[in-house]
């Protein structure tokens, strides 16, 4: 079973990797966006860890809800509402339980990913964070390590795609050949989950 401490470890591990990979995310965002994805998420996850240190929510759902609120309040751009919605809706789906099973988490995360797709209007293949999140959720049944590998593969697989959502969509064919920064950061989030599980 997974308790609130597990979810805090997930958020902290993600914050650490976003911090470490911020320059890479920004470099990926440079040719097809405006070169700030790394610094924006870095600011957001720093706020998440600060808030979790201060408030210490008691349930998995409350940890994710607080994290999501922080991202919406600090990131800006499209990433703030999208990542914020992902975590808030996942947290809401987990409810008030003090501990949740891996199956509960897989189901809640699918609800969260569906909410992101509804909010941003993106589908798999549009060259967005969805291209890492959907395969990760699909693979969660086989464990956290499998989800991490699937997200990473999904992020890499965005390279040959043409962007259809967000600012990169304005580049049309010129967006082809660049790995999507949003899918890359989404893979970091899934990797943080595996890390929290000790995988």
């Amino acid at each position: 079973m997974l308790d609130a401490a597990f979810f805090r470890r997930w958020m902290t591990a993600t914050a650490v990797s976003v911090d470490r990979e911020a320059e890479r995310l920004t470099a990926l965002d440079s040719p097809i966006g405006d070169a700030d994805h790394g610094s924006n998420l870095q600011r957001g996850f720093a706020a998440v860890t600060a808030a979790l240190d201060k408030e210490a929510p008691a349930t998995p759902g409350a940890v994710l809800a607080l994290a999501g609120r922080q991202l919406i309040s600090t990131v800006g751009g499209a990433s703030g509402p999208l990542y914020g919605t992902l975590l808030r809706r996942t947290g809401k789906a987990l409810g008030d339980a003090a501990e949740v099973s891996e199956e509960d988490l897989a189901g809640a995360l699918r609800t969260g990913v569906d909410a992101v797709m509804a909010l941003g209007g993106a589908a798999p293949g549009d060259k967005t964070m969805i291209d890492a999140l959907v395969p990760a959720v699909d693979a969660l049944g086989e464990g956290f390590g499998a989800a991490r590998a699937a997200a990473e593969r999904g992020a890499v697989a965005t390279t040959p795609l043409q962007a259809r959502k967000g600012r990169a969509s304005y580049l049309g064919e010129r967006s082809v050949g660049h790995q999507d920064p949003g899918a890359t950061s989404a893979a970091l989030l899934v990797a943080g989950l595996a890390e929290a599980a000790g995988e």
Binding site: D36, G76, K165, S169, L171
Partner: protein, 330 residues
């Protein structure tokens, strides 16, 4: 790349501190990043709130004041502000007559303003929204985030702002804002890319002998790259691109807008060519505005926006306005 900054992290708050010092007629909340006209909330008046990434100055903070915006929320450079800023702005300016959010069509701006509208309504503030999407360079809207909001934002903010100033109700101010957007089209051309403070180098590589046609205002490349053209050739291309999409029967407002690094000498020269093309196409010009209004940091180049106006829109355009970036009649 040399920039007159301290560190990239404080560029926006440093600018806001300087803006506060220069404009005591505005209330500038540097910490929460909200710029409000000093006399807000004005009793009985619909409030206009806009915002977006920084780097487009004077848009939007420079358009706060009597006759235009009630408040503006600047985000990080080229990044949408967050809902907290928008809710704070709405609460500061709402007199009970409601708030109109003027939103440029970018995914981040749309999502954050939508969330803010929900939160503001929870606080009992009546909110309406107008989406600005005037950029004809985005042709395949089915496969993109849709047309970008660029130069027409100034027309929407000025004209709807005047309607609000004279006490028109929220639904009427919203309808006028929508009419202005529907009557406006833009096209932009870049001679050089811009440099964001965080990156410190140009956002795309544009060789000296080439220009980008159909650019947006976030340093993204345009729809086509060509060998350098004369001012007259660029005017032909840009105005024709706009008129392919807008066939005005009424006179138009013309905005010849600099993107940040093009001097007025060039902009006025370019305007002469724009006016020539309009005259050749039989389009009557009601008013013309030339200058750097909707910029993209230090991007070199210009955009052309046309807005077809009836008598009421023209009257509202001519109404007095007093902001740091636009001021006449008072």
């Amino acid at each position: 790349m040399k920039m007159l900054i301290n560190v990239p992290e404080t560029v926006v708050s440093d600018a806001l501190r300087g803006m506060a010092a220069a404009h005591p007629e505005l209330t500038v909340d540097v910490e929460n990043r909200v710029i409000v006209r000093r006399d807000a909330p004005v009793a009985g008046k619909v409030a206009l709130v806009s915002g977006g990434g920084s780097g487009h100055e004077p848009l939007h903070g420079g358009f706060v004041g009597p006759g235009m915006l009630s408040a503006a929320c600047p985000g990080e450079v080229f990044t949408s502000p967050v809902p907290d800023q928008m809710v704070r702005a709405a609460a500061a300016v709402d007199s009970g007559a409601g708030v109109l959010f003027v939103v440029k069509n970018y995914t981040g701006d749309v999502l954050n303003f939508d969330m803010a509208a929900e939160l503001a309504e929870d606080e009992g503030i009546q909110v309406a929204r107008v989406l600005v999407d005037d950029d004809v360079a985005v042709t395949d809207s089915l496969y993109t985030a849709g047309r970008r909001g660029t130069g027409a934002t100034l027309f929407v903010e000025k004209i709807a702002g005047a309607a609000a100033e004279e006490g028109q109700p929220l639904e009427r101010v919203e309808a006028i804002a929508r009419q202005v957007n529907d009557s406006s089209r833009s096209f932009g051309v870049a001679l050089a890319a811009c440099t964001t403070p965080a990156k410190g180098s140009p956002t795309f590589d544009l060789p000296p002998g080439e220009l980008e046609l159909g650019i947006g205002i976030h340093g993204e490349p345009g729809r086509e790259r060509r060998a350098m053209m004369t001012s007259g050739e660029v005017a032909d291309f840009a105005v024709h691109a706009v008129l392919e999409d807008l066939e005005p029967r009424n006179p138009v407002l013309v905005l010849v807008n600099g993107l940040g690094a093009t001097p007025l000498l060039e902009l006025y020269g370019f305007n002469a060519e724009v006016q020539r093309v309009l005259s050749e196409r039989g389009v009557a010009v009601a008013r013309t505005l030339v200058g750097n209004y909707v910029t993209s940091l230090d991007m070199a180049g210009a955009s052309v926006t046309l807005c077809q106006v009836d008598e009421e829109l023209l009257r509202l355009w001519d109404a007095p306005v007093h902001t740091p970036g636009l001021r006449w009649g008072m």
